[in-house]
Amino acid sequence: MSDNIIIKAENISKVYNLRRQKTFKEFLPALFSGSDTRIKLNALSHIDFEVKKGESLAIVGRNGSGKSTILKLIAGVTKPSDGRITVLGQVAPLIELGAGFHPELTGRENVYLNGSILGFKKKEIDKLYNGIVEFSELRQFMDQPVKFYSSGMYMRLAFAVAVAETPDILLVDEILAVGDTKFQEKCLRRIKEFQKEGSTMIMVSHDLNMINEYCQKILVLDKGKQIYFGEVEKGIDKYQQLLS
């Protein structure tokens, strides 16, 4: 692999084995009567793409086209059924913010918890803590349980933790649609800074303007199949053809 490629997907496919029956009660009779207990779902088939360091990739496609599955594969939480994906570098997921938050814990406790889930050591979080609070603009709420936070505050804190340090690869899953415009702009500015520092962003979005502004490469998917991978302009054309 050449030294500036950071993500390389080679002919990857992902098949989900969905169980038709959810409990023993349904499962046992099905087992004995010999009927099928599983359905196969081809979430992705034969996907090929590569991302160079510092490049950003947009993934577009209709609902259910396998966009989130690609993010999961990059994050390493699931493995491809076929093919190979290589990811070099530390991945910071920004998918569905606040997954690592606990409502009963205070903002401060959640920053430390979420930070350690993202792989930071306590000492590192100590150093980043002020920056996180500053970015989230939640200083006076840090000692309150996050269950009293509004969803916007929640999102701000989660984003602030995730972007506290420059990651090698940042995964963004349509989250920027939340929050007020002012904070959104702040997030986008931070993403710009990351890109300048050489981070790679993988973005799932429906916002074509944003894709044009932030990404150099685009991957167009339809029902798990790869329609196009390459330059943004051409990809957007393909995507619009797909929608019409």
Binding site: Y16, N17, K22, T23, F24, F27, K72, A75, G76, V77, T78, K79, V91, P93, I95, E96, A99, G100, H102, E104, L105, E109, Y112, L113, S116, I117, L118, G119, K121, K122, P145
Partner: protein
């Protein structure tokens, strides 16, 4: 050789993730009693109430012998470790399912979720031992040197508990029936473990059930060593240690094998 290498790299990884392990355990401990007035006192109050009612029932009503020791102490040295075992299992069985949002988002060794649950329950257990100390003081129980066996027995118990927890947590991810089945099994298991009675009153021909049950060996060993009944039965204890280690090794292996699919099924 190969598996030894794997074990070493896993231990190293656990060391790298120690802060996450501690933070998750801390969350587990912290969140639970946050909105209660008595807070962490519940950890002592629950077994205390259990002990008082069970003492009345088994000692005064049913007159179960307790080898010349105040029944409540006889009961407490068995019930508290049993509670640790039962609570660990019933919490860890859900530890993966209840953290599904994490499992589908970010990679870290999944066994951390199970370990942190058990650590939280262990802290509960250590606090609940305050109740035991109170009874020791009230009844002026004299403790002997065999007490030094307790840490070893405790280690065996932890290996056994963790082994079972890993496999149950993983299976529950695929079949939610496991958690309901477990409640039933744990309840029946308690009756088949000499927690509320001495194993000596069991007819000889049924005793084999107890020697097959690692928890029974562990509970008996606690009772024997804490209450000055002499040294534990080395043979049973060795068997329990080997059984527990094998259970742990097998579950750990299966857990790691299934781990890659957790995010697809949760």
């Amino acid at each position: 050789m190969n598996s030894l290498k794997k074990l070493r790299s896993n231990l190293k990884m656990m060391w790298d993730y120690r802060e996450l392990l501690w933070n998750l355990a801390h969350r587990e401990i912290n969140q639970r009693y946050k909105q209660s007035v008595l807070g962490y006192a519940w950890v002592i109050l629950v077994p205390l109430a259990q002990l008082i009612v069970m003492n009345f029932l088994f000692s005064i009503v049913l007159r179960i012998p307790s080898q010349g020791i105040p029944f409540i102490i006889f009961l407490a040295v068995a019930l508290l470790p049993w509670n640790f075992f039962a609570n660990s299992l019933s919490s860890s069985v859900n530890s993966l399912v209840s953290n599904s949002s994490l499992i589908t988002k970010i990679y870290f060794p999944r066994e951390i979720l199970v370990y942190s649950t058990i650590i939280a329950k262990m802290v509960d257990f250590l606090f609940s031992c305050i109740a035991l100390v109170i009874f020791f003081l009230v009844y002026k129980t004299t403790l002997t040197l065999t007490l030094f066996w307790v840490p070893l027995i405790f280690v065996i118990q932890i290996i056994f508990t963790t082994g079972l927890s890993l496999i149950l947590a993983a299976l529950n991810l695929f079949y939610r029936d496991i958690q309901y089945l477990l409640n039933l099994v744990v309840m029946l298991w308690m009756y088949l473990t000499p927690v509320m009675y001495p194993v000596e009153i069991v007819p000889e021909k049924y005793r084999f059930i107890f020697s097959l049950n690692p928890m029974s060996v562990i509970i008996n060993a606690y009772r024997q060593t804490i209450l000055g009944g002499g040294e534990p039965n080395y043979f049973s204890l060795t068997v329990a240690f080997i059984t527990s280690s094998v259970i742990f090794a097998v579950s750990f292996y299966l857990f790691k094998k299934m781990e890659g699919e957790f995010a697809d099924y949760v």
